[in-house]
């Protein structure tokens, strides 16, 4: 009788413990292992690094007190021949060959040609991977835009680089300096000068004609500053100043990737 009672109690307690342990194991089943998570993150970081390489944009940002200053050094259009097609090939390569190699299911949801600053809000966004136009979108207070063209302006009535359009300098708004020169160093004077205030809510634009049916169009509207060179190569260096009371700068890439069911988005590529 004593032996029976002892065995019964032992079996009861041991069974209870076993059930608890098995339950605890069950909670862990849905969670991926650390090494698996680490592999997924590695793959995402890898794609983000490639995204940055394809974008081929050099930028920097500094905080001066309450003013964030962004520097962009760029060349338009993209030096990559058939850039949109090249990026499609890249996506295919990642979702195919790279997926097989890493034994993972990789899917690129979206990969946009832009750099997005979240603090303060500013976007440097191309019209496409061909980089035929670039827009600087944000509530900037200062814009210094320097453009060097590889073609010369056509002459109109003996004058070079005569801007056509409707560019109006105002008494307040964003401080804008437009340092634009053609291949011969001629400088267009939109609205009669190159420095002044611009109301970014108003639609301002001007265009200059270049030899060989080339042109350069610049416009500003609704907090967007757009530079669009056509049939010419333009080296575009921009400096943008924005008041930022948070005193921190962060930039992300607009990228969405799913690796083995885990979704990653917008990798941070700059923090200061």
């Amino acid at each position: 009788m004593r032996g029976f009672a002892f065995t019964l109690m032992f079996v009861l307690i041991a069974s209870m413990l076993l059930i608890i342990v098995m339950e605890a194991q069950g909670w862990k089943e849905g969670e991926p292992e650390f090494s698996s998570v680490s592999k997924r993150v590695d793959i995402f970081e890898d794609i983000a690094q490639d995204h940055e390489a394809i974008l081929n944009l050099s930028f920097n940002a500094t905080q001066y007190g309450w003013l964030s200053v962004f520097f962009f050094n760029d060349t338009l259009p993209s030096s990559i021949a058939n850039a949109d097609e090249a990026v499609s090939n890249y996506v295919e390569f990642v979702e195919g060959r790279y997926s097989n190699l890493t034994n993972s299911n990789i899917s690129i949801g979206s990969m946009e040609p832009a750099v997005v600053f979240t603090s303060p809000e500013l976007e440097y966004r191309y019209s496409g991977w061909d980089k035929e136009a670039v827009s600087i979108i944000g509530e900037g207070q200062i814009y210094f835009i320097s453009i060097r063209l590889d073609k010369k302006c056509t002459k109109q009535k003996g004058m070079s680089c005569v801007p056509e359009g409707d560019w109006e300098w105002s008494d307040s708004g964003a401080l804008v300096y437009l340092d634009i020169r053609d291949a011969e160093g001629n400088m267009p004077l939109p609205g009669g000068r190159v420095l002044g205030f611009v109301d970014l809510e108003r639609f301002n634009y001007f265009s200059i004609k270049l030899v060989g049916r080339g042109s350069l169009t610049v416009y500003s509207y609704n907090n967007e500053f757009r530079v669009e060179p056509t049939r010419t190569r333009a080296s575009v260096n921009s400096i943008v100043g924005i008041f930022n009371f948070e005193e921190s700068i962060k930039a992300e890439l607009p990228l969405e990737v799913a690796v083995d069911g885990t979704e990653f988005e917008n990798p941070v590529i700059y923090e200061a």
Partner: protein, 129 residues
């Protein structure tokens, strides 16, 4: 008194069982040592990034980490275009990691093409002779 002794015996036996089970689960949850090689393979590719292979630096990386293995870069077609080997691994002991590398190669003045590569790291533990 008898009941107390029975309970004490049962608790002691259960405690022994718990200890045994805990040990079993502990042993099962220990990360296999091979994982170290897996991490090293991934890390070494991350360090190299999109750059060119520097033979000296890579060999030093393997040496100071007490690892053997190799790193190769393959083009889109899968052909090896660059490779570095630190020291040999026994068949079946290697751990692998991969990375992609998209690079712009200038083909003409102001014109470039996008080249896609895969980098492959094979790593194993360096066994002392």
């Amino acid at each position: 008194m008898r009941g107390f002794v029975f309970t004490l015996d049962a608790v002691a036996a259960s405690a022994f069982l718990i200890a045994m089970l805990s040990l079993l689960f502990l042993l099962a949850s220990i990360e296999p040592t091979q994982r170290v090689e897996e991490h090293f393979a991934a890390d070494v590719l991350a360090v190299i990034g999109e750059g060119e292979l520097n033979v000296g630096e890579i060999k030093q990386l393997f040496l100071i980490s007490n690892k053997c293995g190799s790193i190769v870069i393959r083009n889109e077609g899968g052909d090896i275009i660059e490779g570095v080997s630190a020291c040999g691994c026994q068949l079946g002991t290697e751990k692998l990691a991969y990375r992609t590398a998209a690079r712009l190669r200038e083909v003409d003045e102001g014109e470039s093409e996008l080249e896609l590569f895969t980098m492959e790291a094979r790593v194993c533990e360096r066994v002392q002779p």
